[in-house]
Symmetry: C2
Subunit: 183 residues, 2 copies
DNA sequence: GAATATACGGAGTCGCCACTCCGATTGCAA
DNA sequence: TTGCAATCGGAGTGGCGACTCCGTATATTC
Protein backbone atom coordinates (compact mmCIF):
# COMPACT_ATOMS: atom_id res chain seq x y z
CA UNK A 1 0.00 0.00 0.00
CA UNK A 2 1.40 3.35 -0.99
CA UNK A 3 2.28 5.58 1.91
CA UNK A 4 -0.05 8.41 0.88
CA UNK A 5 -2.88 5.91 0.65
CA UNK A 6 -2.22 4.75 4.20
CA UNK A 7 -2.12 8.32 5.47
CA UNK A 8 -5.39 9.15 3.76
CA UNK A 9 -7.04 6.06 5.15
CA UNK A 10 -6.10 7.12 8.64
CA UNK A 11 -7.32 10.65 8.13
CA UNK A 12 -10.63 9.39 6.78
CA UNK A 13 -11.13 7.16 9.79
CA UNK A 14 -10.39 10.00 12.17
CA UNK A 15 -12.77 12.31 10.35
CA UNK A 16 -15.43 9.60 10.32
CA UNK A 17 -15.17 9.15 14.07
CA UNK A 18 -15.64 12.88 14.48
CA UNK A 19 -18.58 13.20 12.13
CA UNK A 20 -20.39 10.05 13.25
CA UNK A 21 -19.80 11.17 16.81
CA UNK A 22 -21.67 14.37 16.11
CA UNK A 23 -24.41 13.27 13.78
CA UNK A 24 -24.55 9.50 13.91
CA UNK A 25 -25.40 7.61 10.79
CA UNK A 26 -26.83 10.79 9.35
CA UNK A 27 -23.38 12.30 8.93
CA UNK A 28 -22.73 12.47 5.20
CA UNK A 29 -19.80 10.91 3.46
CA UNK A 30 -19.11 14.21 1.76
CA UNK A 31 -18.65 15.92 5.10
CA UNK A 32 -16.26 13.22 6.18
CA UNK A 33 -14.25 13.65 3.01
CA UNK A 34 -14.16 17.39 3.51
CA UNK A 35 -12.85 17.12 7.06
CA UNK A 36 -10.31 14.54 6.06
CA UNK A 37 -9.13 16.85 3.32
CA UNK A 38 -9.65 14.30 0.55
CA UNK A 39 -12.13 13.78 -2.27
CA UNK A 40 -15.24 11.63 -1.93
CA UNK A 41 -13.78 9.19 -4.38
CA UNK A 42 -10.96 8.52 -1.98
CA UNK A 43 -13.30 7.73 0.86
CA UNK A 44 -15.19 5.24 -1.23
CA UNK A 45 -12.03 3.61 -2.53
CA UNK A 46 -10.93 2.82 1.00
CA UNK A 47 -14.38 1.96 2.30
CA UNK A 48 -16.56 0.84 -0.61
CA UNK A 49 -19.73 1.22 1.43
CA UNK A 50 -20.86 3.61 4.08
CA UNK A 51 -21.67 0.61 6.23
CA UNK A 52 -18.08 -0.60 5.98
CA UNK A 53 -16.82 2.81 7.01
CA UNK A 54 -19.09 2.77 10.02
CA UNK A 55 -17.88 -0.67 11.00
CA UNK A 56 -14.25 0.30 10.63
CA UNK A 57 -14.86 3.32 12.83
CA UNK A 58 -16.49 1.19 15.47
CA UNK A 59 -13.71 -1.36 15.44
CA UNK A 60 -11.17 1.40 15.85
CA UNK A 61 -13.06 2.79 18.81
CA UNK A 62 -13.58 -0.58 20.48
CA UNK A 63 -9.91 -1.36 20.08
CA UNK A 64 -8.93 1.85 21.82
CA UNK A 65 -11.22 1.06 24.73
CA UNK A 66 -9.85 -2.45 24.94
CA UNK A 67 -6.28 -1.22 25.15
CA UNK A 68 -7.17 1.20 27.91
CA UNK A 69 -8.91 -1.51 29.89
CA UNK A 70 -6.00 -3.90 29.46
CA UNK A 71 -3.44 -1.37 30.59
CA UNK A 72 -5.54 -0.57 33.62
CA UNK A 73 -5.79 -4.23 34.48
CA UNK A 74 -2.14 -4.71 35.26
CA UNK A 75 -1.36 -2.21 37.89
CA UNK A 76 -2.67 -0.94 41.19
CA UNK A 77 -5.42 -2.01 43.48
CA UNK A 78 -8.11 -4.21 41.97
CA UNK A 79 -11.21 -2.34 43.13
CA UNK A 80 -9.87 1.06 42.20
CA UNK A 81 -8.75 -0.19 38.79
CA UNK A 82 -12.19 -1.58 38.11
CA UNK A 83 -14.01 1.54 39.22
CA UNK A 84 -11.64 3.80 37.35
CA UNK A 85 -12.16 1.91 34.13
CA UNK A 86 -15.89 1.91 34.68
CA UNK A 87 -15.89 5.67 35.05
CA UNK A 88 -13.60 6.15 32.10
CA UNK A 89 -15.69 4.07 29.81
CA UNK A 90 -18.80 5.93 30.83
CA UNK A 91 -17.46 9.42 30.47
CA UNK A 92 -14.82 8.80 27.85
CA UNK A 93 -17.21 9.46 25.05
CA UNK A 94 -18.85 12.74 25.94
CA UNK A 95 -18.63 14.14 22.44
CA UNK A 96 -19.39 10.82 20.88
CA UNK A 97 -22.88 10.05 21.96
CA UNK A 98 -24.06 9.41 18.46
CA UNK A 99 -21.16 7.08 17.87
CA UNK A 100 -22.26 5.03 20.81
CA UNK A 101 -25.68 4.71 19.29
CA UNK A 102 -24.08 3.14 16.24
CA UNK A 103 -22.11 0.95 18.53
CA UNK A 104 -25.26 -0.27 20.18
CA UNK A 105 -26.66 -1.11 16.83
CA UNK A 106 -23.53 -3.01 15.97
CA UNK A 107 -23.94 -5.03 19.14
CA UNK A 108 -27.28 -6.31 17.90
CA UNK A 109 -27.25 -10.03 17.20
CA UNK A 110 -27.62 -10.06 13.44
CA UNK A 111 -25.83 -6.89 12.46
CA UNK A 112 -22.35 -7.79 13.64
CA UNK A 113 -19.61 -8.51 11.16
CA UNK A 114 -16.89 -10.95 12.17
CA UNK A 115 -14.44 -8.15 12.68
CA UNK A 116 -16.78 -6.05 14.78
CA UNK A 117 -17.75 -9.13 16.72
CA UNK A 118 -14.11 -9.88 17.46
CA UNK A 119 -13.37 -6.35 18.62
CA UNK A 120 -16.43 -6.33 20.84
CA UNK A 121 -15.58 -9.60 22.49
CA UNK A 122 -11.99 -8.52 23.04
CA UNK A 123 -13.30 -5.55 24.98
CA UNK A 124 -15.64 -7.78 26.89
CA UNK A 125 -12.78 -10.05 27.86
CA UNK A 126 -10.65 -7.16 29.02
CA UNK A 127 -13.49 -5.93 31.23
CA UNK A 128 -14.02 -9.43 32.53
CA UNK A 129 -10.42 -9.59 33.72
CA UNK A 130 -10.83 -6.37 35.65
CA UNK A 131 -14.11 -7.52 37.10
CA UNK A 132 -12.98 -10.88 38.39
CA UNK A 133 -9.85 -9.39 39.86
CA UNK A 134 -11.98 -6.88 41.76
CA UNK A 135 -14.34 -9.62 42.86
CA UNK A 136 -11.51 -11.76 44.20
CA UNK A 137 -10.36 -8.78 46.23
CA UNK A 138 -13.90 -8.49 47.59
CA UNK A 139 -14.26 -5.02 46.13
CA UNK A 140 -17.21 -5.87 43.91
CA UNK A 141 -20.17 -8.07 44.72
CA UNK A 142 -19.55 -11.63 43.64
CA UNK A 143 -22.87 -12.14 41.88
CA UNK A 144 -22.28 -9.46 39.27
CA UNK A 145 -21.44 -10.72 35.78
CA UNK A 146 -19.69 -9.06 32.87
CA UNK A 147 -22.94 -8.92 30.99
CA UNK A 148 -24.53 -6.77 33.63
CA UNK A 149 -21.51 -4.54 33.87
CA UNK A 150 -21.60 -4.17 30.15
CA UNK A 151 -25.25 -3.20 30.17
CA UNK A 152 -24.64 -0.65 32.89
CA UNK A 153 -21.66 0.89 31.17
CA UNK A 154 -23.33 1.14 27.81
CA UNK A 155 -26.46 2.53 29.35
CA UNK A 156 -24.66 5.22 31.32
CA UNK A 157 -22.33 6.07 28.47
CA UNK A 158 -25.36 7.07 26.46
CA UNK A 159 -26.54 9.49 29.09
CA UNK A 160 -27.00 13.10 28.28
CA UNK A 161 -27.33 15.76 30.89
CA UNK A 162 -25.09 17.58 33.32
CA UNK A 163 -21.77 15.94 33.80
CA UNK A 164 -22.20 16.33 37.55
CA UNK A 165 -25.55 14.57 37.60
CA UNK A 166 -24.27 11.70 35.51
CA UNK A 167 -21.30 11.38 37.83
CA UNK A 168 -23.58 11.06 40.80
CA UNK A 169 -25.66 8.49 38.95
CA UNK A 170 -22.47 6.53 38.37
CA UNK A 171 -21.71 6.75 42.08
CA UNK A 172 -25.08 5.23 42.82
CA UNK A 173 -24.46 2.39 40.42
CA UNK A 174 -21.02 1.72 41.87
CA UNK A 175 -22.61 1.62 45.31
CA UNK A 176 -24.95 -0.99 43.96
CA UNK A 177 -21.97 -2.92 42.70
CA UNK A 178 -20.09 -2.90 45.97
CA UNK A 179 -20.41 -5.97 48.17
CA UNK A 180 -23.18 -5.75 50.74
CA UNK A 181 -21.14 -5.87 53.92
CA UNK A 182 -24.14 -6.29 56.14
CA UNK A 183 -27.76 -7.09 55.54
CA UNK B 1 -62.85 19.06 13.54
CA UNK B 2 -64.71 16.43 11.63
CA UNK B 3 -64.93 13.08 13.39
CA UNK B 4 -63.18 11.14 10.62
CA UNK B 5 -60.35 13.66 10.77
CA UNK B 6 -59.94 13.05 14.48
CA UNK B 7 -59.92 9.30 13.98
CA UNK B 8 -57.30 9.56 11.29
CA UNK B 9 -55.16 11.80 13.43
CA UNK B 10 -55.19 9.19 16.16
CA UNK B 11 -54.35 6.38 13.79
CA UNK B 12 -51.47 8.34 12.35
CA UNK B 13 -50.06 9.00 15.80
CA UNK B 14 -50.30 5.35 16.73
CA UNK B 15 -48.62 4.29 13.51
CA UNK B 16 -45.93 6.90 14.04
CA UNK B 17 -45.18 5.58 17.50
CA UNK B 18 -44.82 2.13 16.03
CA UNK B 19 -42.60 3.12 13.13
CA UNK B 20 -40.40 5.54 15.04
CA UNK B 21 -40.12 2.89 17.72
CA UNK B 22 -38.65 0.51 15.18
CA UNK B 23 -36.56 2.74 13.01
CA UNK B 24 -36.18 6.04 14.81
CA UNK B 25 -36.08 9.20 12.80
CA UNK B 26 -35.24 7.12 9.76
CA UNK B 27 -38.76 5.73 9.60
CA UNK B 28 -40.37 7.20 6.51
CA UNK B 29 -43.57 9.18 6.47
CA UNK B 30 -44.86 6.97 3.70
CA UNK B 31 -44.51 3.89 5.89
CA UNK B 32 -46.40 5.64 8.66
CA UNK B 33 -49.19 6.54 6.27
CA UNK B 34 -49.34 2.98 5.01
CA UNK B 35 -49.65 1.51 8.50
CA UNK B 36 -52.23 4.07 9.48
CA UNK B 37 -54.19 3.18 6.38
CA UNK B 38 -54.30 6.74 5.08
CA UNK B 39 -52.61 8.66 2.26
CA UNK B 40 -49.43 10.65 2.73
CA UNK B 41 -51.35 13.82 2.16
CA UNK B 42 -53.41 13.12 5.24
CA UNK B 43 -50.36 12.70 7.40
CA UNK B 44 -48.94 16.01 6.25
CA UNK B 45 -52.22 17.82 6.70
CA UNK B 46 -52.32 16.86 10.37
CA UNK B 47 -48.60 17.28 10.97
CA UNK B 48 -47.21 19.74 8.44
CA UNK B 49 -43.65 18.71 9.16
CA UNK B 50 -41.99 15.46 10.04
CA UNK B 51 -40.48 17.19 13.03
CA UNK B 52 -43.92 18.13 14.30
CA UNK B 53 -45.06 14.54 13.95
CA UNK B 54 -42.08 13.38 15.94
CA UNK B 55 -42.81 15.88 18.67
CA UNK B 56 -46.46 14.94 18.85
CA UNK B 57 -45.46 11.30 19.17
CA UNK B 58 -43.08 12.09 21.98
CA UNK B 59 -45.64 14.16 23.85
CA UNK B 60 -48.12 11.34 23.58
CA UNK B 61 -45.62 8.89 24.96
CA UNK B 62 -44.50 11.13 27.80
CA UNK B 63 -48.10 11.75 28.76
CA UNK B 64 -48.79 8.03 29.00
CA UNK B 65 -45.77 7.53 31.24
CA UNK B 66 -46.83 10.45 33.41
CA UNK B 67 -50.28 9.03 33.92
CA UNK B 68 -48.87 5.67 34.91
CA UNK B 69 -46.52 7.24 37.40
CA UNK B 70 -49.28 9.37 38.90
CA UNK B 71 -51.61 6.44 39.33
CA UNK B 72 -48.85 4.46 40.98
CA UNK B 73 -48.13 7.31 43.35
CA UNK B 74 -51.40 7.13 45.15
CA UNK B 75 -51.65 3.64 46.42
CA UNK B 76 -49.61 1.07 48.24
CA UNK B 77 -46.33 1.12 50.00
CA UNK B 78 -43.97 3.94 49.07
CA UNK B 79 -40.79 1.98 48.38
CA UNK B 80 -42.55 -0.68 46.36
CA UNK B 81 -44.43 1.93 44.35
CA UNK B 82 -41.20 3.69 43.51
CA UNK B 83 -39.35 0.57 42.52
CA UNK B 84 -42.28 -0.72 40.51
CA UNK B 85 -42.49 2.48 38.54
CA UNK B 86 -38.75 2.47 38.05
CA UNK B 87 -38.89 -1.02 36.61
CA UNK B 88 -41.88 -0.23 34.47
CA UNK B 89 -40.33 2.83 32.96
CA UNK B 90 -37.18 0.92 32.17
CA UNK B 91 -38.79 -2.10 30.60
CA UNK B 92 -41.98 -0.52 29.36
CA UNK B 93 -40.41 0.40 26.08
CA UNK B 94 -38.81 -2.81 24.90
CA UNK B 95 -39.96 -2.40 21.33
CA UNK B 96 -39.45 1.30 21.40
CA UNK B 97 -35.76 1.74 21.79
CA UNK B 98 -35.46 4.01 18.85
CA UNK B 99 -38.29 6.14 20.14
CA UNK B 100 -36.37 6.68 23.31
CA UNK B 101 -33.43 7.89 21.31
CA UNK B 102 -35.67 10.57 19.85
CA UNK B 103 -36.87 11.32 23.31
CA UNK B 104 -33.31 11.84 24.46
CA UNK B 105 -32.79 14.24 21.65
CA UNK B 106 -35.93 16.09 22.60
CA UNK B 107 -34.59 16.44 26.11
CA UNK B 108 -31.63 18.37 24.80
CA UNK B 109 -31.63 22.01 25.93
CA UNK B 110 -32.25 23.77 22.65
CA UNK B 111 -34.42 21.32 20.79
CA UNK B 112 -37.42 21.30 23.10
CA UNK B 113 -40.66 22.87 22.02
CA UNK B 114 -42.87 24.35 24.72
CA UNK B 115 -45.26 21.49 24.48
CA UNK B 116 -42.58 18.83 24.67
CA UNK B 117 -40.95 20.72 27.50
CA UNK B 118 -44.21 20.77 29.42
CA UNK B 119 -44.84 17.07 28.95
CA UNK B 120 -41.30 16.24 30.02
CA UNK B 121 -41.50 18.30 33.18
CA UNK B 122 -44.89 16.84 34.07
CA UNK B 123 -43.30 13.40 33.99
CA UNK B 124 -40.40 14.64 36.04
CA UNK B 125 -42.77 15.99 38.66
CA UNK B 126 -44.70 12.75 38.85
CA UNK B 127 -41.48 10.85 39.39
CA UNK B 128 -40.40 13.34 42.00
CA UNK B 129 -43.55 12.70 44.00
CA UNK B 130 -42.85 8.99 44.02
CA UNK B 131 -39.24 9.54 44.94
CA UNK B 132 -39.76 11.82 47.89
CA UNK B 133 -42.51 9.62 49.26
CA UNK B 134 -40.12 6.66 49.13
CA UNK B 135 -37.39 8.70 50.73
CA UNK B 136 -39.62 9.79 53.60
CA UNK B 137 -40.40 6.14 54.22
CA UNK B 138 -36.65 5.48 54.30
CA UNK B 139 -36.91 3.14 51.36
CA UNK B 140 -34.58 5.11 49.13
CA UNK B 141 -31.38 6.87 50.09
CA UNK B 142 -32.01 10.47 50.96
CA UNK B 143 -29.25 11.96 48.87
CA UNK B 144 -30.67 10.79 45.55
CA UNK B 145 -32.31 13.46 43.41
CA UNK B 146 -34.84 13.25 40.63
CA UNK B 147 -32.21 14.22 38.14
CA UNK B 148 -30.13 11.22 38.96
CA UNK B 149 -33.13 8.91 38.91
CA UNK B 150 -34.01 10.32 35.54
CA UNK B 151 -30.55 9.70 34.18
CA UNK B 152 -30.61 6.15 35.46
CA UNK B 153 -34.02 5.39 34.04
CA UNK B 154 -33.28 6.85 30.67
CA UNK B 155 -29.96 5.10 30.51
CA UNK B 156 -31.36 1.69 31.40
CA UNK B 157 -34.38 2.10 29.18
CA UNK B 158 -32.04 2.38 26.24
CA UNK B 159 -30.38 -0.91 27.02
CA UNK B 160 -30.40 -3.68 24.53
CA UNK B 161 -29.61 -7.22 25.39
CA UNK B 162 -31.26 -10.10 27.20
CA UNK B 163 -34.23 -9.09 29.23
CA UNK B 164 -32.88 -11.18 32.12
CA UNK B 165 -29.52 -9.43 32.08
CA UNK B 166 -31.10 -6.01 32.00
CA UNK B 167 -33.34 -7.00 34.87
CA UNK B 168 -30.35 -7.95 36.95
CA UNK B 169 -28.67 -4.68 36.05
CA UNK B 170 -31.76 -2.89 37.29
CA UNK B 171 -31.54 -4.86 40.53
CA UNK B 172 -28.00 -3.66 40.98
CA UNK B 173 -29.03 -0.06 40.44
CA UNK B 174 -31.93 -0.37 42.86
CA UNK B 175 -29.51 -1.78 45.41
CA UNK B 176 -27.43 1.30 44.90
CA UNK B 177 -30.51 3.39 45.49
CA UNK B 178 -31.47 1.73 48.74
CA UNK B 179 -30.40 3.44 51.95
CA UNK B 180 -27.09 2.23 53.32
CA UNK B 181 -28.20 0.74 56.59
CA UNK B 182 -24.68 0.30 57.86
CA UNK B 183 -21.30 1.51 56.76
C1' DG C 1 -81.44 15.02 0.16
C1' DA C 2 -78.91 18.96 -1.37
C1' DA C 3 -75.29 22.20 -0.49
C1' DT C 4 -70.91 23.12 1.21
C1' DA C 5 -67.09 23.20 3.84
C1' DT C 6 -63.90 19.92 5.26
C1' DA C 7 -60.92 16.06 4.49
C1' DC C 8 -58.81 12.58 1.68
C1' DG C 9 -55.44 10.25 -1.67
C1' DG C 10 -51.50 9.83 -4.12
C1' DA C 11 -48.95 11.32 -8.30
C1' DG C 12 -45.47 14.66 -8.88
C1' DT C 13 -41.59 17.97 -7.43
C1' DC C 14 -37.22 18.96 -5.41
C1' DG C 15 -33.18 18.33 -2.92
C1' DC C 16 -29.97 15.39 -0.68
C1' DC C 17 -26.85 11.64 -0.46
C1' DA C 18 -24.63 7.18 -1.38
C1' DC C 19 -22.06 5.56 -4.90
C1' DT C 20 -19.58 5.46 -9.86
C1' DC C 21 -16.23 6.71 -13.36
C1' DC C 22 -12.41 8.38 -15.56
C1' DG C 23 -8.98 11.96 -16.62
C1' DA C 24 -5.37 14.12 -13.81
C1' DT C 25 -1.69 13.21 -10.28
C1' DT C 26 1.86 11.19 -7.74
C1' DG C 27 4.76 7.77 -5.12
C1' DC C 28 8.17 4.45 -6.25
C1' DA C 29 11.39 1.37 -8.62
C1' DA C 30 15.06 1.06 -11.86
C1' DT D 1 14.91 11.06 -14.48
C1' DT D 2 11.57 8.32 -16.46
C1' DG D 3 7.70 5.09 -16.74
C1' DC D 4 3.81 3.34 -14.85
C1' DA D 5 0.87 1.43 -11.58
C1' DA D 6 -1.42 3.04 -7.73
C1' DT D 7 -4.08 6.98 -6.15
C1' DC D 8 -6.63 10.88 -6.21
C1' DG D 9 -10.55 14.32 -7.08
C1' DG D 10 -14.97 15.59 -7.88
C1' DA D 11 -18.59 16.03 -11.50
C1' DG D 12 -22.30 13.02 -12.56
C1' DT D 13 -26.07 9.35 -11.70
C1' DG D 14 -29.90 7.09 -9.47
C1' DG D 15 -32.87 6.56 -5.95
C1' DC D 16 -35.21 7.75 -1.85
C1' DG D 17 -37.82 10.55 1.04
C1' DA D 18 -39.99 15.01 2.68
C1' DC D 19 -43.36 17.91 1.15
C1' DT D 20 -47.07 20.07 -2.37
C1' DC D 21 -51.26 20.27 -5.09
C1' DC D 22 -55.60 19.54 -6.62
C1' DG D 23 -59.34 16.64 -8.25
C1' DT D 24 -62.36 13.48 -5.65
C1' DA D 25 -65.01 11.95 -1.71
C1' DT D 26 -67.62 12.48 2.48
C1' DA D 27 -69.31 14.35 7.14
C1' DT D 28 -72.45 17.78 8.54
C1' DT D 29 -76.14 21.01 8.40
C1' DC D 30 -80.74 22.53 7.31
Amino acid sequence: MRSDAQANRDRVLAAAEEVFGESGKAGSTEEIARRAGVGIGTVFRHFPTKQLLIEATIVRHLTLLTNTARARGEDGEAGAAFRMTFREMVSGAPAKLALLALLEEAAAPAAATDEVEAAASALRDAVEVLLSRAQKADEVRADATVDEIYVLIRALANSRGDRAVVDRAVDIVLDGLSPRRCV
